[in-house]
């Protein structure tokens, strides 16, 4: 949980913490706040300064993406292994594009084609991919906490691409980046951000609670009470016992004067255990429609981590409306992942372990 303290042998100097990206004239400015984290497993350990550093590094990566040839040699010769135990297209491809834009060597392993199906344990798999040359590991797993087990045995950096219900740090960071980019004033501070839908099963919601409250947003969770189980107690205490947020099943209260509305995916299996009577009932009561959105601020941003069930948690016309930032999220996702890979590579260099120095 606290990867900062034991993982960094010494404070990296400013130049080590921010190695210039060759051939990028707008490389991240020398940082007064060094990146201290060997892994990115959860958002809870990231401070406001850490978030700021990620945002500024992402700005630089956005500039790279806008070039005719969106490729820099920052991670040349480094092996980034992408190990996904759960089906995913957009997140996996986003990581792959990010790593390739930084000129990393990318190895893709999908659980269905790996030895996982032969009963190989996660620990064995991690040791094997490390022996095969993995220096940075991007991992998605259906069991909450699995990346912590990986980080315990892996010699390089682990970047959590989503674990169970627990965390999806890169999604939360790209969400924050998108909001800062699109909101007037470039800040989420004091802005009303509504996370709408299946909060209980959502790693996106949990990670956004940490990042958005750290950045000073007024966070509202909204959904059927069955899908908010346990969050009222957390909201009352606040993230880190101080950063309070709101929990409500009243969509009217939630959407009133909202600055950002983020709808979450509803999965069909939620009906099996009696959490919801039907998708029809959910869409009628909690679906993000044009009429409902009218209660929010006129220029409120509409977001969705994808993949969408159009017509269930979000109406098709809302998803493609002028207020929608869903495709910006996808583009920013690549930039944020580039930034994190870049920052983690800097830590690895500072420690002198990954490249053998």
């Amino acid at each position: 949980m606290n990867p900062a303290a034991p993982d960094v042998a010494r404070e990296p100097t400013a130049t080590e913490a921010a190695p210039a990206i060759p051939a990028v004239d707008a490389a991240p400015e020398p940082q007064s706040i060094p990146w201290r984290h060997r892994h990115v497993l959860d958002v809870d350990v990231l401070t406001a300064d850490d978030l700021d550093l990620v945002m500024r590094t992402t700005d630089a990566m956005r500039e790279v993406l806008e070039r005719p040839i969106a490729k820099v040699p920052a991670l040349r010769g480094r092996n980034v292994t992408i190990l996904f135990y759960e089906a995913s297209t957009r997140t996996r491809v986003s990581f792959e594009v990010a790593a390739k834009n930084l000129s990393a060597d990318v190895v893709n392993i999908a659980a269905s084609t790996s030895s996982v199906t032969k009963g190989e344990s996660l620990v064995d798999t991690i040791r094997t991919v490390e022996a095969l040359g993995a220096q940075m590991l991007v991992m998605r797993h259906s069991v909450s906490g699995a990346p912590y087990l990986a980080a315990e045995v892996f010699g390089g950096s682990v970047l959590n691409g989503g674990d169970g219900w627990h965390a999806h740090p890169t999604q939360a960071l790209l969400d924050l980046y998108t909001m800062r980019q699109e909101l007037p004033g470039g800040s989420v501070e004091g802005r009303k951000v509504v996370i709408l839908g299946d909060v209980l099963h959502s790693r996106v919601a949990r990670s956004n609670i940490w990042s958005l409250t750290a950045a000073g947003a007024d966070v509202w969770l909204c959904g059927p009470s069955t899908l908010l189980r346990g969050f009222e107690a957390w909201a009352a205490r606040g993230a880190a016992a101080s950063r309070r947020f709101h929990v409500t099943s009243s969509i009217d209260d939630a959407l009133r004067d909202a600055d950002v509305v983020m709808a979450l995916r509803i999965q069909r299996e939620r009906m099996a255990s009696g959490l919801l009577p039907s998708l029809r009932e959910y869409a009628a009561r909690f679906g993000l429609t044009r009429q409902r959105l009218a209660a929010a601020k006129p220029d409120a941003l509409v977001m969705h981590p994808g993949p969408m069930n159009e017509g269930v948690e979000i109406a098709p016309d809302v998803a493609v409306s002028a207020q929608s930032r869903i495709t910006d999220q996808v583009t920013n996702g690549v930039a944020v992942r580039m930034a994190l890979l870049y920052l983690l590579a800097g830590v690895a260099e500072g420690r002198g372990t990954v490249d053998g120095r």
Binding site: S121, G145, L149, D163, G164, W165, H166, R203, R206, G230
Partner: protein, 484 residues
């Protein structure tokens, strides 16, 4: 002996290979003796000759000067009502021999093993096999056995309760799982009541805990773990007690024992049932009184120091999702842990039982959600209780009673030894140094199950000697102390 002289433990030098040897001569001088059977604790001398207690001499006046409960303590051998020894079927995790060695290292001279072996202990043939393993081990630790309530612990068909009773089981349990069917539970209570034996229920409403991973609360919410509600235990206890009310009308000798209770609500129900005169007893574990669900988040502080929100007060010091703290029932919130400790202190909980549940690394070095439930705990129970005593949450006398006379009363006459330190009887005792600490590690614990949250964390109360049935069960090697 002169006043203020240190306690002495005088016996001929011995080595580890002497386990099983009769204690010919043992002189324990100026020790703090705690004997809950006699209802007494204080300075004493104790003499063992030929394996038998020859003399217990309580010291008073100047003779007792300088003898205090912070040094060497002698107590009757501990009794554990709830261990898993894994034999037959899972000898990689524990064998009868390794389990009894671990018990002796923890100061226990009697353990009661659960029947969830493979095959389950549901007929006298399996019982004979386990007893043979105990005899072969050479350990003098007394092994008592529970029989299964249902055949193969399937929850449907009553096991051969009468035959198992005749073969000497001390009760019946489907532990690991509750007796799910109310009808089976009623019939088992009535049938076992004919032999005066308890049904030991693992009280859990399984319909409320499907896929559950962590106590339903802040920690589970933040970590994204499937919630394990306290209500699943409380409602099961309420059901069990309601059935017991009915059963005792027909079978007054019927008895119910609820094991490893972990919630304030369940313990309140037991407290009221006892006040109403129902024949119910219960035990609690060291981990449910000493630890909380904060440990899943990576906090490493005692329950009585916990806030319930380790993110809020900077208590997180280790990585989250350690599978050593995955256990059934789960580690609970601080208020539940406090209720467990209160129940032990006020006698609502009759006994401390370890629920010693050894597992192999294969079953624990996996993702949290896939890991086996259980803590290897028979060697660390004393240290956890002493931590509660040191924190002022429990008296020393009550702690020792929960390890000795409390479980002895539940066993009735079915333990040959549970009588305390009686002159002329075979010696059954533990000697430990409360001022000395030891550090559980994979090397220092005797159990094959290294799945202990206390590995690498020093505990008070190093056991120096365990004597069972007049024979050496455990003797500390020289220089086995964590203190320099």
């Amino acid at each position: 002996m002169a006043a203020d002289a240190p306690a002495t433990v005088s016996a001929p030098p011995a080595t580890g290979s002497d386990v099983g040897r009769t204690v010919a001569e043992l002189d324990l001088s100026r020790v703090w003796l705690v004997d809950p059977f006699a209802g007494r604790e204080g300075a004493a001398d104790l003499v063992v000759r030929g394996g038998r207690v020859q003399a217990v001499t309580w010291l008073d006046g100047p003779d007792a000067d300088g003898v205090d409960p912070d040094g060497v303590i002698v107590a009757p051998g501990f009794i554990d009502l709830h261990v898993h020894l894994r034999e037959p079927g899972n000898e990689d995790a524990e064998t009868v021999a390794s389990g009894l060695a671990a018990a002796a290292h923890g100061g226990f001279t009697t353990v009661c093993a659960m029947p969830n072996t493979d095959p389950a202990l549901d007929d006298p043939g399996v019982l004979a096999r386990v007893r043979a393993a105990a005899a072969t081990s050479g350990s003098p630790v007394e092994l008592l056995l529970y029989g299964a309530v249902t055949m193969g612990r399937d929850g449907d068909r009553l096991a051969a309760l009468g035959e198992l009773a005749d073969a000497g089981v001390v009760g019946f349990s489907d532990d690991g799982a509750p007796v799910g069917s109310a009808t089976i539970l009623r019939n088992a209570l009535m049938y076992a009541g004919m032999a005066g034996l308890p049904i030991v229920d693992h009280a859990e409403d399984s319909t409320a805990t499907e896929g559950a991973e962590a106590n339903d609360g802040l920690v589970a919410t933040v970590l994204g773990l499937r919630g394990w509600p306290a209500a699943a235990e409380i409602s099961a206890v309420a059901r069990d007690l309601a059935i017991l009310v009915d059963v005792v009308r027909d079978v007054p000798a019927a008895r119910l024992h609820l094991t490893h209770l972990s919630t304030a609500g369940a313990l309140d129900l037991v407290r009221r049932a006892k006040a109403a005169g129902l024949p119910v007893t219960c035990d609690v574990t060291p981990h449910h009184l000493g630890l909380t669900d904060e440990w899943l988040a990576g906090a490493r502080r005692w329950a009585w120091d916990a806030s319930g929100d380790p993110w809020g007060d900077g208590a997180i010091e280790s990585a989250p999702y350690s599978t050593t703290v995955r256990v059934n029932p789960p580690l609970r919130a601080p208020q539940d842990a406090a209720a467990v400790l209160t129940a032990l202190a006020d006698g609502t909980a009759d006994a401390l039982a370890t629920d010693h549940a050894p597992h192999t690394e294969v079953d624990k070095a996996v993702e949290f959600g896939l890991a086996a439930n259980g803590i290897s705990g028979v060697e660390t129970a004393l240290g956890v209780l002493l931590a509660a005593v040191d924190a002022g949450r429990l008296s020393l006398g009550r702690a020792i009673a929960a390890l000795t006379s409390g479980p002895a009363i539940i066993l009735g006459g079915r333990s040959r030894r549970a009588t305390g330190l009686v002159e002329g009887a075979p010696a059954d005792l533990v000697v430990f140094d409360r001022s000395d600490r030891w550090t559980p590690t994979a090397e220092t614990i005797r159990s094959r199950g290294k799945n202990s949250p206390w590995l690498g964390r020093p505990l008070a109360g190093r056991v120096l000697l365990t004597v069972a049935d007049g024979r050496v069960a455990y003797e500390a090697p020289e220089g086995d102390s964590a203190q320099a």
